[in-house]
Amino acid sequence: MRSDRNAPRAPLALKLVVAGGLLFMHFPIAVIALYAFNVEENAFTFPIKGFTLKWFARVFERGDVMESVLLSLQVALLAALIAIVLGTLAALAIYRRQFPGREGINLLFNLPIALPGIITGIALLSSLRLMHLEPSTITIVIGHATFCVVMVYNNVIARLRRMPHSLVEASMDLGADGLQTFRHVILPGMATAVLAGGILAFALSFDEIIVTTFTAGAQRTLPIWLLNQLAKPREMPITNVVALLVTVVTTIPIIAAYRLIAGTEGVEGASK
């Protein structure tokens, strides 16, 4: 792609479309940021009449918000940990071996994100009912972990495929046994991909609403709290502040995950 330097410059019309598209993709978030400082209590009237910081202070006084934040963090952490274990095992099993049913199993791990979340949610809920189990934090975690596995699985499998097998052979030739090769060659090679997958799983879980609607019962994760606010607002401006905080909090891990994946790409490309 280096040869592109001599390529013609992008036509103005294309640049305008790109700029417009990017504006479209970012302006709703900017709007939320703007409204978080809105002085008015009960209106979305534009233009905004004045700005204040008082809603930020109110958020931390609201027990229900803090409870939802803690629940969401707890769920996302557990779901990500389960996803890391299951996704990594699955990737290690699938990536180099041919066996009957391999394609089917690969499809199975991808199915929870291919099929609408409402199906995952309703299936879990109806099974819980059949087993006379009450929705709880555990059931939210189970639902989340199931669709989070794929984030780790796909990330790790992509990394393992790019890792030259000659490294493993070299390790074996030098007298390392299988476990040593795994610990000193494969594990360090895939570690950042596992971590990146885990972070993405965390972010996905922190934000998930559709499956949660079915498995949460009376528990309120942060997205459910936000959804309830939309139906029955109580101190509307708080919603804007929470929405802004959620956006900021999820953005940081995503950039971290992106760097973990992108940072190693060049190295592996060179070793190919």
């Binding site: 598209g21 990017l22 709703p28 978030i29 071996r97 390392a176």
Partner: protein, 319 residues
């Protein structure tokens, strides 16, 4: 030199007879190792995903009594009969399907230029920036984004202000008056809902298209130019066909995500159920799990067909 490397190897990889015994036993039996790795994730998926999914589909042939509002174990095909013959159910399917198609087409149209610019014109630094710029809104909280649009489209909100400030009121009113497009206000119009869906899934379309354009070998473009094709001809006959797998891959997301969504149809747009909202109502408000289960078969079949089609267009090689 040799001795030094050997020492290094010896110090970082101490020979441990016990572990060697275990690992030799395992590597001697790749099948055992395979199943040891595969068993935990597989068990989890059978227990918490496939099992419940099959149980759900099994419930679609049970009987729901409208009077007592209870489910009995009598087997029936009535739910499926209602699915294919009840006009209101057909309406729901048609409404959801049309929206999913429209959103996919619009995302492809808007996403293509952005992906094209990223793949063909942006230098390494710019590409990195654009990549992050597309990823961030994609990963930003779904419910926050949906909420942002209810604020933007609200009565006296930003869109209403923009339309009147720019003197576009007649145009806006005309748009809102269109059947199948408009509605009473921006936030209750089909157009508003369409806009929000587009916004939500656009990044999912951009990234696979970008990847597929990037994969086109530069010498194909040079060859096309050498053979006398104009840039427009090269684009039409070389770049566009070769990026179809990317569009197909993107459409998996835009189509399937629209098809199964039930938050956006609740928050934005006119009344009238989508598949997701209908399933939600059947199981929740009415407690008719058999009908809800039968309805979930529609997205399973349609999404399955879409995946098959996308696979034929090469989508899975583009992902």
């Amino acid at each position: 030199m040799n001795a030094a490397t050997m020492n290094l190897a010896a110090s970082t990889m101490p020979a441990r007879p016990a572990s060697r015994g275990v690992s030799n036993a395992l590597f001697g039996r790749p099948r055992t190792l395979l199943w040891m790795l595969l068993l935990p994730p597989l068990a989890w998926f059978l227990l918490f995903y496939l099992g419940p999914l099959l149980a759900l589909l099994g419930q679609s042939v049970l009987t729901f009594d409208d009077f007592s509002m209870t489910v009995s174990n009598e087997l029936t095909l009535a739910n499926f009969k209602a699915l294919v013959s009840d006009p209101s159910n057909l309406d729901i399917v048609a409404r959801t399907f049309t929206m999913a198609l429209a959103v996919s087409a619009a995302c492809a149209l808007l996403g293509y230029p952005i992906a094209y610019y990223m793949a063909r014109y942006a230098d390494a630094r710019m590409k990195g920036l654009l990549y992050v710029a597309v990823m961030l809104p994609m990963w930003a909280s779904y419910i926050v984004k949906a909420y942002a649009w209810t604020v933007i489209l609200a009565k006296e909100g930003l869109v209403a202000w923009l339309v009147s400030t720019l003197g576009l009121l007649p145009l806006g009113d005309a748009l809102l008056a269109l059947p199948y497009v408009g509605g009473n206000t921006w936030s209750t119009s089909h157009f508003g809902r369409f806009l929000v869906f587009n916004y939500m899934w656009l990044p999912f379309m951009i990234l696979p298209i970008q990847a597929s354009i990037e994969r086109i070998a530069p010498n194909l473009l040079l060859a096309s130019a050498d053979l006398g094709a104009s840039p427009a001809q090269t684009f039409r006959t070389v770049v566009l066909p070769l990026s179809v797998p990317g569009i197909a891959a993107g459409s998996i997301f835009t189509f399937c995500l629209t098809f199964g969504d039930f938050i956006i149809p609740t928050l934005v747009g006119p009344s009238g159920d989508f598949l997701g909202t209908a399933v939600y109502k059947y199981q929740g408000a009415i407690g008719n799990m058999p009908m809800a289960a039968a309805l979930t078969l529609v997205p399973i079949v349609v999404v399955g067909a879409w995946l098959w089609l996308a696979k034929r267009l090469g989508a899975f090689d583009a992902l």
